[in-house]
Structure formats: structure tokens, C-alpha cells
Amino acid sequence: MSDDTSAAGSTGALRRTLNLARPDEIYNAIVDAHKDLDDAQCRALDARLILLLANHVGDEAAIREALAAARQSLAEGGA
């Protein structure tokens, strides 16, 4: 387990600690949005969702760091 500042490749722009007041509500809202969609529709939904949220976040450094972290987690076999 690492704390908030340690992970490799971090520029510190991306928040790593919890920022949601009601995490279970948000998690389940995201998952439930995919109900009854096939794989292609899920990808299309996620693309829209990511673009909407990226625009809302606005911080380019944070977005780039999130992209790198997601990619790195995939490469480590955490699919």
C-alpha cells in the first residue's frame, strides 16, 4: 500500500485520495449507466463520459497523469 504522494510517474497534479462524499452512490450510478448496453455501446458511453468529465476537470496535467496511470495499470496486468 502506498500513500498519497509515492506512486511512480506522479507529477502530483492528480488527486489520489477520495474526493467523493458518497462514493458508493457514484460508483453504482456509473456502473448502472452501463446496464443493458452491449460492448460497443459501453465503449461509446465511456468515451462520452470521459470527454465530459475531462472538460469539467480542465486541468491538463491531471488529465495526462490520469491517462498515464490508467495505461500503466493496464500494462501491469490489472485488466
Partner: protein, 531 residues
């Protein structure tokens, strides 16, 4: 197989069989955890009851093992909670593993300094044994074993039940019938009432074993462990050095084959290694349902516990939810029987506990969906959460291996909301109306405890100096003065004069910054349905 000796409690020939019939204020069907707890709560308020149970012993198997703080506080009033704590395993922390790596720890008692821990693990048969003993010693409780309810006939102002015994049948008349007769509730079936909900198809294997080595004390949960790589495993320690291992088997597992001792042993061998030795206590393969009745009140028949609502086991919300039901019901039923409250007060039992059940079902369904994702995208998000958890603390908080039972917030017409009678009150924290009270030590770190001061009536908690006088309080209201120093003051955001009205089930009904007898009397009327 079991190290627990199941005692058979004696059947006594009911007086009704010899023509001595007497109408009872309350008849309770089912001697599990809820029925005897209700009977003891009613007895403390001077209401006698009869409990009818078709069997003559305690729960077969360990079943509901995680006894929450809120339940222990209730049982403490009958003097049996310390026995449960001594016998059981106290735990407050849990650990979640991904593969063989720990990724997340949680503490369920973030505020220490309370009489009871977040959880004590104790097998249901011990809880029932202690409750039965206490009921059998209580003159106001008539606990009848091998008395099976075979017919229920609702009347306009009561209920008639037909009971079958080894000596024949008899009829019993009651003002109120409370069905605490479990998920398959015979009473519910006899009245033809539906039990809508959701059926889950994933199968789980419970293996209770006595492991002859050092045991972990905390709750452990594994996603994809090396010893069961395709699914999850949950581990709980119980009294008598018994471990509960709960293997997720998936939808297509062959339950009969999985239950065979050699197959269970093979799984356990992979988990505990070649050197470990164990003895089997109890094995069970289960699936579960989440269901809730539309109404818990049907004329003079009241449903509580698993008979009224049932959840998946993730979160320890079944047994503890049942105990919260009867704690909510007991004081209201006692007031109605005494004619100190109108019958419609019981409608609040239905609305408050249905809201709590909805929350329990929501939480346990979310945990179930996380542990056993139902569609590919759900699994993708679950696995992404687990993968990110190592480096990202936020993802650890999203891991849902069970959100453990805490008292639920209710919105009730019985409560006086903040500011109704005190618009200038400025509350920064402390339990608001609708929340459960919080325990605190009253003098030093080891008690006496605030929960010890709460009796079977309403309580008025006032933070004040020693010379404070409550004056004449309304009936059924007990004044408790608390020092303006110490932990209780912090937990209740108190200033001198701060006053909380606490219901008999230890929920907050109202609170004020000033001691205002007229506002207190109005809130008490409202909280008892007399408003």
C-alpha cells in the same frame, strides 16, 4: 460434528389444553433472536407475552454471527451483553486482499471510548441460548417450546391463533400477534401475504471449522486469492476457536458435490496449507434473496425480522436489522397497550423500519453486485477498482466487500427537526433528530457509560452544571444531567443548556440549545404520536 451441545428445552403442557384460556396482550411467534429480544423488551415495560416456537432448541448452525454494537447495547439491558462479549470475538477492523496482497484496511469504530465494540462475533446458537435463559427466568414471559402455530384468524380488535402441541391443539387469543418466525414465515403464508423481491443465483459455501492453530481476529476478505483464484473468500473468527470460511462458488456450482467433506477439505487444504489441521463444525451451501413486505402491519398482526425483510449476508444486516426492528416496536407497542399512545403510533414502526430495510437491501445489494458482478461492464469497473487500489487510496474506498451494519437514519413524523422550535440553534455536529444516539464515557475513560443511563422510557439529556434542576418532567421522561466537560460534550456538540430528547430505542427525537420545558413537552407528545 458440532462442538456445541444443543440442549433441548422442556415442553410443558399449556394450561389452555385444560380449559384455562386467557386473552394475552402480545403473542410472539418464533423464538429466534428477534422474538425473545422483543419479549424481554416488553417485560421491562411491564407487558407480559407468550412466545410460541415449533422447535425446542436453538439455531442449528452458527448462522448470524456478527453482533453489532447497537444490538449489544439492546441486549445489555437484559444483562446478557457482557456474557456475549466475553464469549465472542471482539473485532473492529477488516482487511481486504487482492490476490495475496492486502490492499485496504477499515476500522468500523472510528470513535473509540464507547462501552461496546463495533462488532462481536458470536454464533447465533449462543445468542439464542443466553436469550432463552433470560426469558425462562422472567415471570412475565411464557416461552413455549414445541408449540406450532397452525392457523391465524385476524379479528377486528385482536388475533386468534390455533396452536398444535404434542398433547393436542388449543386456541390462543391475543390483542397483538408479532410474527418473528423467519424468512419462510408460516404466519405470512397463512395470511396469504406476498413477499416481493429479488432472487440472486450466485452460490456460496460456508465451512465452519475448528482450526488447530493461531487464528486471525479481524474480518478478512479476498478477491481472487491464490487458493480460490476465480472468486472471493470471506473469513470470520467465532467463539470456541471456530473459523467461518465463506467461498463464493458462482452460479453453476454443484451444491451437493461442493458440500461433500472431501471437496470442502480440498478447498481448505489449498487455503491453509499442507500442515494445517481442522475439524468440521457445520457446512452449508446457500444462495440468497432480498425481499421486503409492502407493509409490516396487517391489522393486529405485526411482522419483524426476516419474516418482514431479508437481505444478503454481506454487511451483517439480517440479525442486527431484526434486533433493531423489535427495539423500535417494543416501546411503541407498550405505549399503545397502556393507552398512552394512539394505535396509529405503530404506523411509524412500519414506515421507519421499512426505510431502514430499504437502506439495508440497497447496501447489501451493492456489495453483492461488487462481489458478484452481474454484467461485463460491472465486472470491468469492479476489476479496475481493484487494480487501481494499490496506488490510489480513493479506489480502496470504493472496494465494497460489505458495508457493515450501522444504525440507519430515519425520517419520521415522530421527530422534531432541528430549528423547528429553536431557529437560532447552530449545530456543527452531534446526532441530529432521526439519528441513533452515540455512547460516551461520563466520568473518565472506562465509564460509567451514557448508554447505561438510558432506561426503558424516554430520556432527556441535558448538559449542565451540578446545581441544575429538571423541575417536574412529564410522565415517562427521565432526566439525565451530563457534565459540560468531557467526551460526551464534544460528541453532542453541547454547550451549557444543550438538551437532547432520546427515544427509548436510543434515537434522537429532538434537540435544543436551551432547556425549554414547553418545547420538550411538545416534542415528547409528537414522538409518542400524541402530537
Amino acid at each position: 460434528m458440532s462442538s456445541y451441545t444443543y440442549r433441548h428445552y422442556s415442553y410443558r403442557r399449556p394450561a389452555e389444553l385444560d380449559g384455562k384460556a386467557e386473552r394475552r396482550p402480545v403473542v410472539i411467534v418464533g423464538a429466534g433472536m428477534a422474538g425473545p429480544t422483543l419479549a424481554l423488551s416488553l417485560a421491562q415495560r411491564g407487558v407480559p407475552s407468550v412466545i410460541l416456537d415449533e422447535d425446542d432448541t436453538v439455531s442449528l448452525g452458527s448462522r448470524s454471527i456478527c453482533q453489532a454494537k447497537h444490538s449489544l447495547e439492546i441486549w445489555d439491558r437484559f444483562g446478557i451483553a457482557s456474557r456475549m462479549v466475553e464469549k465472542g470475538i471482539t473485532w473492529e477492523q477488516g482487511e481486504v486482499y487482492l490476490g495475496d496482497k492486502p490492499i485496504y484496511r477499515f476500522n468500523l469504530q472510528p470513535e473509540p471510548g464507547q462501552k461496546f465494540p463495533a462488532f462481536v462475533n458470536l454464533q447465533q446458537y449462543y445468542v439464542e441460548e443466553y436469550l432463552f435463559e433470560r426469558c425462562l427466568a422472567e415471570p412475565a414471559i411464557d416461552l413455549r417450546f414445541r408449540n406450532k402455530v397452525v392457523a391465524v384468524t385476524p379479528q377486528s380488535d385482536g388475533v386468534t391463533v390455533e396452536v398444535e402441541t404434542p398433547d393436542g391443539r388449543y386456541a390462543l387469543e391475543a390483542d397483538w400477534l408479532v410474527a418473528c418466525d423467519g424468512v419462510r414465515s408460516p404466519v405470512r403464508h397463512m395470511l396469504g401475504l406476498p413477499y416481493p423481491g429479488e432472487v440472486f443465483h450466485d452460490q456460496f459455501l460456508i465451512a465452519d471449522i475448528r482450526l488447530l492453530s493461531e487464528l486471525p481476529k479481524e474480518r478478512r476478505f479476498w478477491f481472487y486469492p491464490p487458493f480460490h483464484p476465480t472468486n472471493s473468500v470471506l473469513l470470520h473468527r467465532q467463539a470456541d476457536n471456530i473459523l467461518r470460511v465463506d467461498f463464493q462458488l458462482g452460479r453453476d456450482a454443484d451444491a451437493e458435490a461442493e458440500k461433500k467433506p472431501e471437496n470442502v477439505d480440498c478447498r481448505l487444504r489449498q487455503m491453509f496449507g499442507p500442515e494445517a489441521r481442522w475439524e468440521h463444525e457445520w457446512t452449508s451451501v446457500y444462495t440468497f434473496t432480498c425481499r421486503m413486505m409492502e407493509r409490516f402491519l396487517h391489522g393486529r398482526v405485526i411482522f419483524a425480522g426476516d419474516a418482514a425483510h431479508v437481505v444478503s449476508p454481506f454487511g451483517a444486516r439480517g440479525g442486527n436489522g431484526a434486533i433493531a426492528d423489535v427495539d423500535n416496536l417494543a416501546w411503541k407497542l407498550a405505549l399503545v397497550l397502556e393507552k398512552a399512545a394512539p394505535e396509529r403510533l405503530l404506523e411509524s414502526y412500519c414506515s421507519e423500519r421499512r426505510a431502514a430495510s430499504r437502506e439495508n437491501i440497497l447496501n447489501s445489494t451493492r456489495s453483492t453486485d461488487f462481489i458478484t458482478p452481474k454484467f461485463p461492464a460491472s465486472r470491468a469497473f469492479r476489476d479496475a477498482t481493484l487494480a487501481l487500489a494499490r496506488d490510489f487510496p480513493f479506489a480502496r474506498a470504493l472496494i465494497n466487500s460489505g458495508r457493515l451494519s450501522v444504525p440507519t437514519l430515519h425520517e419520521s413524523g415522530l421527530d422534531t427537526p432541528d430549528g423547528d422550535s429553536d431557529p437560532d440553534a447552530n449545530w456543527r455536529r452531534g446526532p441530529a433528530p432521526g439519528r441513533a444516539m452515540i455512547d460516551a464515557p461520563l466520568d473518565g475513560e472506562r465509564g460509567p457509560w451514557l448508554v447505561d443511563r438510558i432506561g426503558p422510557d424516554f430520556s432527556l439529556l441535558t448538559f449542565a452544571e451540578r446545581d441544575f434542576e429538571f423541575g417536574s418532567l412529564p410522565q415517562r421522561l427521565t432526566g439525565i444531567r451530563v457534565s459540560t466537560e468531557g467526551l460526551a460534550r464534544q460528541r453532542y456538540d453541547a454547550q451549557p443548556g444543550t438538551t437532547y430528547l432520546i427515544r427509548p430505542d436510543r434515537y434522537i427525537a429532538a434537540r435544543w440549545r436551551r432547556y425549554d420545558p414547553a418545547a420538550i413537552a411538545a416534542a415528547l407528545r409528537r414522538a409518542t404520536g400524541n402530537g
